[in-house]
């Protein structure tokens, strides 16, 4: 029976696929929320007995920020802008899915070539992290609605968070706390700008943000 952490990581990649394929914004936000919540459980599965206090705090913080606060902010944003669906993105849903699958395969292939300090414990972390980062990048680059781009950023940060867990032996809570803080601050500012965008353009479609070009 594979370890709980492995199962969580596999679920994270499956959620990546769901995010790439889905066009309903509420589903995408909830998916990202679920991914964040799952990731907040990971430190608990991976920690030793020693730093349980720190880890508990970190998990709770991650759950609050990624699983509750940010999704709530995004749901509020789409309610304000009255949008429900992503329009057909620059890279269509089906090609996104295929690209995502290729990215996952590539991530798995590449990570087997990199040396790890503790391969048994951390075997799945690197490929999952790289896959999720790739998914996030793909979402940011190909989606048109500003909310989807923010979700892409969120997913990318999730990937970075997973990678940070590799360092949990000697750089515990600090690293993860840094990631969480960055995420929260960035999304907060993005939320404010999105609010302004909606007010200015009456839409969150970034196709409208194309006046500036050379």
């Amino acid at each position: 029976m594979p370890a709980w952490s492995e199962i969580v990581l596999i679920l994270v990649v499956v959620i990546d696929f769901v995010l790439l394929a889905s066009s309903r914004l509420r589903a995408v936000i909830r998916g990202a929320a679920m991914q964040g919540a799952l990731l907040s459980l990971l430190p608990l599965f991976m920690a030793g007995r020693a730093e349980l206090g720190h880890v508990l705090l970190l998990s709770l913080g991650a759950l609050l920020v990624k699983g509750i606060a940010i999704p709530w902010l995004l749901l509020w944003a789409i309610r304000e802008a009255a949008i429900r669906r992503e329009v057909e993105p620059l890279v269509g849903f089906v090609p996104s899915l295929v690209l995502g699958a290729l990215g996952v395969g590539l991530a798995f292939a590449l990570s087997s070539a990199m040396p790890l300090p503790a391969p048994e414990r951390h075997g799945f972390l690197v490929p999952t992290s790289l896959s999720t980062v790739f998914t996030g990048l793909l979402l940011v680059v190909s989606r048109r609605k500003a909310v989807s781009q923010v979700i892409g950023f969120l997913v990318l940060e999730n990937g970075v968070f997973v990678f940070g867990l590799l360092l949990s032996d000697f750089m515990p809570a600090m690293v993860e706390a840094g990631v969480l803080l960055d995420l929260f601050a960035a999304v907060f500012v993005m939320g404010i700008v999105m609010f302004d965008i909606n007010r200015e353009f009456s839409s969150l479609d970034t196709e409208k943000l194309s006046a500036l070009k050379d």
């Binding site: 990048l137 360092l167 750089m171 302004d196 500036l212």
Partner: protein
């Protein structure tokens, strides 16, 4: 002690600015902050090698080059801000002043940081504190620019974080340094796991290169610099990009210790030349003179990367260029801001005869352009010449040749735009009479230009030794 104060005081002043209910008084806080910071920096420089926070902050040679430059630029801009914010009384300036003070704190932290994690946090803070400020003019274009800036830079910073983690993992083997302190990583040197160092360098190059504005990660620059107020443009292009360069240099230092220096240098040379090429292409026929300045910024970041990548004498030239570029960008953006406000437009088709309507800013714009593109006796000439010297001296004829080619093309391209703006008769062009030439907005760029001239005419040997020391720290002595 002083380093920590230098970081915390602007933050405290930012809080003060937020809470201050008077829009007239808030710009004064900026002035106080800028000059207090400058005084503190000068005091700190009397004690090179000063450390704080257990080695997480240190005034090493690289910091000694960049921090005073940024501080001087900021202080002069603070004076300019008095005039600018007075002219823009119609806009809410609480966020603007507060954001600028937070930016000062963040910039100081980046310059002094010796811990890669702290460096990263401070970099992110520079993005978050300036993104809302780009939207100062409250129109659709600046909102679009702010969104692109925020998204692209946040993306870059997130990738930089991944790269930082990679570097940490490189030192994670049992018995390894297991730390993100620069000194620890450098000391551990060859024992760092090579694949992780390389991967980390790539991601950090992408991440901090985005903040610098190296091509092809520069897509936010034309929009952000084009739409932001001239004051913000000066601080971003003179301060934040230089600090992006500092961050990159720190990473290169780690690469050198780990034996990956040639890989890093090659990547820097390629990206540097690519940035210059791209800038050359887009600067020709550029109708918006603020966007033109943005591409010029891309070009000069390319020059810095190229200099660092060539190593030896060229790297020392790159350090010198950081100073010259930072101050000259200040001249150009502040005067461009004045011209933009006076004409109400930034397009070459609508702006003519700036030399006549703005008797200080107009000619300054022209002279600043000449200085930046490498005319003697201004300092960028000497720094670019040093880089070229370094390239040819080490047999990199292709790189040197391309460097010259791109410099010439950009000179011609920018020249046609600048001359069109400055020369001619302003009759018939749009005018905003209330935003004419004023002492408080004209003197600051003059001061900056004077500094650039002074450095060109006479480079104190102590400064030259400082540039050499900083370069040696990063890429080793020639």
């Amino acid at each position: 002690m002083i380093p920590v104060v230098l970081i915390l005081v602007p933050l405290a002043l930012a809080g003060l600015a937020f809470l201050d209910p008077s829009p007239r008084r808030r710009p004064r806080v900026l002035l106080v902050g800028g000059f207090a910071h400058l005084a503190g920096v000068l005091l700190l420089c009397a004690d090179p090698g000063a450390r704080a926070l257990g080695g997480a902050l240190e005034l090493d040679p690289l910091a000694q080059v960049v921090l005073p430059t940024v501080s001087v630029l900021y202080a002069v801009c603070a004076i300019y801000a008095q005039g600018y914010l007075a002219a823009r009384r119609d806009r809410e300036n609480r966020l603007f002043v507060g954001g600028l003070l937070v930016l000062l704190s963040a910039m100081t932290a980046v310059a002094l940081a010796q811990h890669l994690g702290l460096l990263w946090v401070a970099m992110e803070l520079t993005t978050l504190s300036t993104a809302p400020l780009i939207y100062f003019s409250r129109n659709a274009r600046s909102l679009e620019a702010a969104w692109k800036y925020l998204l692209v830079c946040s993306l870059g910073i997130a990738l930089a974080l991944l790269g930082t983690f990679f570097l940490a993992l490189a030192g994670a083997a049992p018995g390894g340094p297991r730390s993100l302190l620069l000194a620890a990583l450098v000391r551990a040197g060859p024992s760092l796991a090579s694949p992780w160092v390389r991967a980390g360098f790539v991601f950090l190059l992408v991440g901090y290169g985005t903040k610098m504005g190296l091509a092809p990660l520069h897509s936010w620059k034309p929009d952000a610099y084009g739409e932001a107020p001239g004051l913000l443009g000066a601080l971003l292009s003179g301060g934040v990009t230089s600090l992006g360069f500092v961050a990159l240099a720190r990473v290169v230092e780690v690469c050198r210790a780990a034996g990956e220096l040639s890989f890093a240098k090659d990547a820097l040379v390629v990206m540097g030349l690519f940035s210059m090429a791209l800038a050359a292409v887009f600067v020709i026929g550029q109708r918006d003179f603020k966007r033109m300045l943005a591409y010029s910024s891309v070009e000069h970041m390319g020059i810095l990367a190229l200099g660092l990548g060539l190593g030896g004498v060229a790297a020392s030239g790159a350090m010198f260029h950081t100073v010259g570029n930072g101050l000259t960008k200040g001249v150009l953006f502040l005067t461009a801001g004045n011209i933009h406000r006076s004409y109400g437009s930034k397009l070459v088709t609508e702006v003519r005869g700036a030399a006549r309507r703005l008797p200080v800013s107009g000619p300054l714009f022209l002279v600043g352009f000449l200085a930046l593109t490498g005319s003697p006796p201004f300092s960028p000439f000497f720094s670019e010449f040093t880089i070229l010297n370094g390239a040819l001296g080490t047999g990199r004829f292709l790189a040197g040749g391309l460097f010259l080619l791109f410099l010439s093309v950009i000179f011609v391209g920018m020249g046609s735009t600048v001359l069109a703006v400055v020369q001619g008769d302003p009759a018939g062009t749009p005018e905003v009479p209330a935003q004419g030439e004023a002492w408080v907005t004209a003197i600051p760029p003059l001061v900056l230009l004077g500094l650039v001239l002074a450095l060109g005419l006479y480079l104190p040997p102590g400064l030259k030794a400082l540039f050499d020391a900083a370069a040696a720290r990063v890429v080793g002595s020639p």
